[in-house]
Every structure is written in structure tokens, then in C-alpha cells.
Amino acid sequence: MVVRKLVSIVDDDESVRESLPDLLREFGFDVQAFSSAEEFLLSDHVGQTRCLILDIAMPGMTGPDLQRELKRKRWAIPIVFITANRDDRVRPQLIEQGAVDCLLKPFTETALLTAVNAALSQS
């Protein structure tokens, strides 16, 4: 049996949590979705996650907060940020902090697949 690689999604937007997993499963990945950074950290999927798709703006712990927290805990999970807010200053900062990419919503499946594959090649 082929072990599918786990891609985890953290986004407070429910429509992202219901649509994105289906697409990623079509690509052949195993997928887990979480509504908050806190929920992800408390789950037992952190260790298996090969790629983290992470929303930037969330109530409570934000995407960048989670990025710092993972770094502090030395969890080397490649991160693909997704955001609906176009702020040209944020993207270079996140990539400098180690993010693989930062996708602006709405993004195409090609852009998503390219970013996820880039992340998996790092892990």
C-alpha cells in the first residue's frame, strides 16, 4: 500500500476547509484540516505533516505566529501561506522566515500543486 503524504490545512474559513481537502485528495495526498493554529498544535498530526497550508489572518494565533511557534519547537514543516489580503510587504517577510510560498486567494490548482510539490521536495 502506498503511504500517502500528509498535507495539513489551517484556516478559519470553513469553505476553504471543505473545498481544499477534496482537491488535494484528487492530487493523491492525505489531508487534515484545522480551524485554528491552536487546534493543529494540539492534534497528533503535527509530526506526520509533510506540508502545511496556512492562512495568515486568523483570530487568536495567526499564521505567522504558528510559523514562529513551530520554529521555536524545531518542527521543520514546510509552509505554504494562503491569504486573501494583498499586502506586498508581507510575502517577502514570510519567505525570509522560511516559508515555501505565499499564495494569494483565489489561486489556481496549478499554482497550488507547484507550491505543495516544492514544499514536499524540502521535507
Binding site: V16, S19, L23, R86
Partner: protein
Amino acid sequence: MKYALSHVIDTLDGLVWAASADGLVDFVNRRWLEYTGFGIEQARGQGWQKAIHEEDLPALLADGAASRSSSEPHDTEVRMRRFDGEYRWFLIRALPMTDAAGEVVGWCGLNIDIEDRRRAEQGLRERERELGELLDRIPGFVATADAQGRHDFSSKRTLAYTRRTLEQNRGLGFIGSLRPEEQEQVKQLWLRCVAHGEAMDVVHQMRRYDGVYRWFHTRVEPFRDESGQIVRWYGLLTDIDDQRKAEDALHQREQELSAAMQVATLAQLSASIAHEISQPLSGILTNASTGLRMLSGESPNVEGALETARRTIRDAHRAAEVIARLRALFAQKNGATEAVDLNEAIREVITLLRSQIQAGSVNLRTEFHDDLPTVVGDRIQLQQVILNLLVNAIEAMSEIDDRPRQLLVRTERENGDRVRFSVQDSGFGLPADAVDRFFEAFYTTKPGGMGIGLSVSRSIIERHHGKLWASANDGPGAQFSFSIPISPPGMASGPDPDTETTPATTDAVRPSRNS
């Protein structure tokens, strides 16, 4: 007879004289001599002429000659010199004395001192002239009409402005100096006021001599006698053209500012709007891609594809809703007055700001009065004010990291049929030196701000007959509130019992300003 006729003549309060048929004086009474200081010999013949002012003598001699040839009496006013050299005005009345055959046998006369009467008349003329000058100097036009409302007098300024004659204006002729399309309306109003004995108060245009129409505010009031009967009408016409133009310019400026605020608010909102629309678009794109993939595999997953299609439709509706809200907020024409549910209007604004609230890590709490009455007003403008105050509050907390960013939005019912909206933040508060300047146009404490939001917000609230103010919190942060009446003044239910005694007013000829 107990007394002589000469005694009577000497006692009469007048200067009495008699002359021969050819006009030579042969008698004057004692009072004549006392007044002039002449002796009888000095007065005889033509000697009396020395007592007459030299300027008045020729006219008197001419009147005397005319009377002698016609045998008719004459009245002549002359100055006579008193014994002390002072001249006083006298009325000389000369009468012919005739015999039984009707022949003139001599002349007699009475000179009456009319100095006091002449002075009184002159004083009256001077007062009339002063009054005329006063009317002509009043920086307004004065006009009067008789009890039946027929115009009968205008001050010089009025006639000079229109370059019309009093004859042209007499009666209802003055209507001809108004703008043709206003003439009938003003005429009917005037006739109605005259018929009911009510004061008239009207704003209208009046043609200047050069053809330019200027705005006037005209007030006409009845003057009544002691029995309450109207005797005359007095009117004052004030040129308010410059004032009107200034008001119009101000109104125009306000509208420009309001438009500028829309642009500024739109810019502030663009991040929120992008977020609101990108979310459903992202869902549509992802679901459609997924659906395609589910159907194009070797064993098509129809169940899954149907689900993604349903999600696509739902997300498209979400995007359409966002656009509909935006359209309602910005594209609707100004000036529409309706019953506004303030709670609902606030909820709509909050929905638009959701992502900005979230991105700013702001903890929003709402305390809406459950049974808040609707207010009559312009929903779009009120929402712009609410939006502006909320955006300000969120921005005031953007650099606060040592305490929770708390936003409290509240609606309340106030006494006196008013409702209050307030937004309280835990931001940097009110700078003490700035609090007086907050509502000035172009004053801002924000680096990227245009400083027009609060001044336009205040003018919007004032147009709703309300007030907008800022106050400091007990703790950190500030509170901005506005309070507006449920229904604007003049829209109170039921007729006002006092309306019958107030002046009839028409403003129909000026465009409505109820924006």
C-alpha cells in the same frame, strides 16, 4: 356804545390798517405801531413799505396793484420788521371797502403773525425729508401698500434697483419686476395674505435694471389701527443674493467633501472588500477544479462532483451578496429619506468590516437596544458615518499591544424621542491638544488620513438634526457618539395649533435642501 370803535381795532390781536382807493395808507392801529416801532407819520402813504422785508416787497406791491385793478381781495405772506430789527412772517389779508353802489372807496387789511405756523411747517418738511432720506439709506428696499394691498410707495433704492417708476409698480404692478415663472405664485400668496390679514414672508428673485435677477427675502406686515382694522401694509425687501450664493457654494463644498470621503473610505475598505470577494472566489476556483478532476478520472466520482458544484453555487452567491452590499453602500443616490433601522444598518457595516476587525485582532462586542425605533433619514449617509467611526476606532487600536483591542458598539434609546449610537475603543485616546480640532476638515492624527471623515460625518449628522461628539473613556481609549431625533423637526405628528398665527411662508421657489 360804551366804547369807541377805534378801541376795538386797537385791541384786536392783529395789525390793522386802512388805505385809500389808490393804495395809500391813511390808518394803522396801535398794535401795528407797537410792532414796527413806527410813528403814525412814518406809516402813512408809502412809508409802511419800510417795514416790509425788501425781498418780499415786490410781490406784495404786485398783489396790491392786481387787487386794485380787479377790486378783489388778496392774501400775501411777507416778513415784517419788528421794532427791534427782527423779521417775522405775516399773512397780509387786504380787502376792498365799497360804497352802496359797489365802488371801491378804500382798502383795509389785517396782518396776522404766522411765524410760529411757518416754523412748524418747515420743521414738518424737514422731518419728512429726513424720514425720506432714512428710508433711502436703509440697506434694503422699503415699500408700502394701502389697506386693500395696493402698492403705493417705494423707497428710491427700490426704484433705482429696478429702474421702474412708481406708476409702473402701483397696485399689483410690482409683480412685473419678479421672475416671470414666479409672478403668479407670489401674486396669489400676496392676495391670500391681504385677504386673511397675515404677514407675508417670501424668498423670490427680482430683476435688476440690467436684467440680472437677484434673490430677495421679502417680509410684509400689516399695520392696524386701535380697532384692529388694517390701515396699511409695510414691506421690507432684503437682498440675500450674496448670502444665497455663499450657502450654495458651502453646500457644493460639503457634497465634494462627502464624495471625497466616499473615495477615502473606499480606499480604506479596499482590503476588506478584496478579502470578502477573494474568499468565495477562492472557493469557486477550488471546487470547480476539484469537480473537473472528479469527473475526468477513469472512474468518475459523480457524487463528489455534485457536491463541489453545489459548493460552487453557494460561494458564487456569497460573492454576489458582497457586491450587492457594496453597491447599496456606495452606488445609491444621496438624499433618499426613509425609515432606517439603525441596528440593521450597523450590522451591515460590521459585516463589511469583518475581515478588517479580524485582521486587526479586534474583539468586537455589540450592545443593541432590542426595541430601537427607526429613524427618518438617509440610510447611506448614516452608514457612512458609522463606517467612518468604526474604521477610526479600529485604526486607533492598531498599535496597541499592551492591552486587549476592544471595540464596543452600542445603540440606546434617549429621552425626548432620540436614539444614540456610540462606538468605544481601547486605542490611543483623545490627544488633549487635538480634541477641539477633531471635527475640522483636513485635520488628522493619522499618517495616511485625509482628515475629512469626522468633519463630513458631523455635517451629515447635523443635517439629520443630531449631534456628533467625542469623549474620553474612564480607562484607555475614546468614545465617539451621535444622537439623532427619531423624526426630524417639522415632521411631528398632528397639525400644529399655532400655525394659524404664524406668518404664511413659501419657499417653493427655492430648491429644496432636504438632503
